[in-house]
Assembly symmetry: C2
Homo-oligomer: 415 residues x 2
């Protein structure tokens, strides 16, 4: 049978066709007015997407490059930094901070869990340069409480900078950078913004810009002050990844509902979209008798699922790929063979999600999951979707009703 390759991976994610076409058409030079106009627009649209008044910068790198830029620009050798780690990407913060000579304090919890905020509070009793954390941990499917950590920083009076890797979190979980007081918020292109890998972006607070002036760590390619100066002129410090920037422009237009399509999205709606896909998937795998790896704080970015007792999760990954060209990921590092991960980041809709669940049922049948019956998972997902779309319809109707009652307010918000 025909099998169209479909990515259900937590990056790269499915590409937006309009972005693919923009990328293919991007035959422009980067030191021209044409590029500067594009670059200015993309940086401005990124601010809207991130939801911040802070400057947002783009780097030709993977997300890890922006993580390195944060450490290199904000710390000096010997600085105490606190890493909150609960998985492979938390561990990356530790590796990075150590590479730049920081004195690394770690609050860690086992894979699949999130932090106890009291441990974070205790660890912040000492003067600290920066707190490094993830918004969501892609290796385990856990959502961390960024707002809670930000609140503790305020409550304890610790003036550590809060640096958040939102690479899989942006567009899949609500993040209020300015309201909460996040100092650096990092994103990557191959995630919720629906384009290929190769770009990272980061929003930087005033406090963080000030801190950069006293940092003693070496930096050149990732010198954010230089990028900021150039960005003010509509340029990048070094050769930018032009085609990816053009793709990003098209994707941000789509997300903002400015590129036709039948639905005005926007950042918040993109998060809600991932939440619905995740809720359907969680209900489905539990109906199959499987357990969630992160039941207490599941991220909408991805659902990590434990295989049936005694089965290697790699077998499920392999069957989904060979039978349906549906690509999900196995566990990483120590979790290899112990869980599989289905992502909901970016361009997934109801049809993608229900199809994935259908394919998973076929695999469950072929691999003889205990007690399996066709329809178990699909029915559970259908009911979740029907309930959620019913709620959405009711809230839209309420909003329409409210608008109709206040014509002045309604016309004021009409663009």
């Amino acid at each position: 049978m025909i099998r169209k390759t479909r990515l259900f991976t937590p990056g790269p994610t499915p590409l937006l066709p309009a972005a693919q076409f923009a990328m293919a058409a991007a035959d422009i030079h980067h030191r021209t007015a044409e590029f500067r106009n594009l670059y200015r627009k993309v940086l401005a649209d990124l601010k809207t997407f991130v939801g911040t008044r802070n400057d947002v910068l783009l780097l030709a790198s993977s997300g890890t490059g922006a993580m390195e830029a944060s450490v290199a620009n904000l710390t000096s050798p010997g600085d105490r930094v606190l890493v909150l780690t609960a998985g492979k990407f938390g561990e990356r913060w530790t590796g990075l901070a150590k590479a730049f000579g920081c004195d690394v304090e770690v609050v860690s919890v086992p894979y699949g869990q999130t932090f106890d905020l009291e441990s974070v509070r205790k660890a912040l009793k000492i003067e600290t340069r920066a707190v490094l954390m993830q918004a969501t941990e892609s290796s385990t499917g856990v959502r961390h409480d960024v707002a809670g950590v930000a609140r503790i920083l305020k409550e304890t009076g610790n003036d550590a900078l809060l640096v958040v890797d939102g690479i899989t979190g942006l567009g899949t979980t609500h993040l209020d950078m300015d309201g909460w007081g996040v100092d650096v918020l990092i994103g990557g292109s191959q995630k919720a913004v629906m384009i290929p890998p190769g770009l990272a972006y980061l929003a930087v607070s005033d406090r963080a810009w000030e801190a950069m002036e006293i940092s003693l760590n070496p930096r050149y390619y990732f010198d954010l002050r230089k990028e900021r100066k150039n960005a003010a002129k509509g340029e990048s410090a070094y050769t930018p990844a032009v085609a990816l920037i053009a793709a990003l422009g098209a994707a941000l237009d789509y997300i903002a509902g400015q590129a036709g399509g039948d639905l005005a999205l926007g950042r918040e709606q993109l998060v809600d979209n991932a939440e619905t896909c995740a809720a359907m998937t969680r209900a489905a795998v539990q109906a199959l008798g499987l357990r969630l790896f992160a039941p207490d704080a599941p991220a909408a970015a991805l659902t990590a699922v434990l295989p049936p007792e005694g089965m290697d999760s790699g077998l499920i990954v392999k069957e989904l790929r060979s039978r349906f060209a549906a690509i999900v990921t196995d566990g990483q590092g120590e979790m290899k063979g112990k869980l599989f991960r289905i992502a909901h980041i970016g361009l997934f809709d109801y049809m993608d999600t229900i199809a994935m669940i259908g394919a998973l049922e076929q695999v469950a049948s072929a691999l003889k999951f205990p007690g399996f019956q066709f329809g178990q998972a699909l029915t559970a997902a259908q009911k979740v979707f029907a309930a959620e779309s019913g709620l959405q319809r009711r809230s839209s109707a309420l909003a329409a009703h409210a608008e109709s009652m206040t014509p002045a307010a309604a016309s004021a918000t009409t663009r």
Copy 2:
């Protein structure tokens, strides 16, 4: 929520990405060696796709253009032609033949049915210039018995030319042009070959080429003899639709399994693919308590479904579009509001099909189909797919076993 537009229409059908990219890249002139090489390759690959030793020609027109070319090149005013009609496209043959002055005899059956071959046999007792029919009737979802009509022509000794509109039939039903003795077999680009509308193709038998020499009907743009002469030189008589031809080349590579991908397809496998999608869909809609419009001879090209008693089918079409951007078609002409049609032509896989059925369940719930429960349709489709893929796996295993028993034959077929 995000809604990706998905066509489940009996043309246009979903586009193959590799064909889209080839189309975008086709910046070539049509009177060059580069184009001639492309054109020769596409015409040769079309012969393989159609499965014939006859010449295959391409026209820059819709499928109706190739239908007109058949009538204009093969008939003279006053010729008796027999039209077999069971829907809107059968009626198109009648209109065309009358426009060219033919004496049109019609064997017709009500929409949703196929012909009684005995009526055809009776109608062929008189000398007839051509029999005009569809392989599958897109307006009703019926499959006609082309082999049966061909056999009757031989049995009755009537030397009428057999002209078959295979526009939705090619790639969705088995057609053995040379073995059965079909004289003209017509296809369109926006169908099983996965590219946009704008090209028609037709395979022409030796007998049909001879018949053209005595036809008195006027023809210029659609003069097939001129096209054949030019095609022998790798050219088209008039300006060809270059980008569509490049797209067709890429699509035929994909269908033949020559364009990477994880599955070698081929013409027969493409038909089997449509059969599986259709079987899943038929089981699903019947599990919903709906009736098939063409239960006796359902085509794999599309499934035509009657709505619940008293409901306008347009409502189902509208809900699928507005909730899921899933585009299906309502009935045409006199069937408007009375049925809806879900297509399986070309680039559909398991995931597309199960997603469509999931969306249909959501619509059934919203529209309160009598007795509806979530999982009804999906479970029925899942069981059909599991049974069919089990059969395929067993037949692959048997074939592998047979090959292992005959090493000489196995090595002979290895490329």
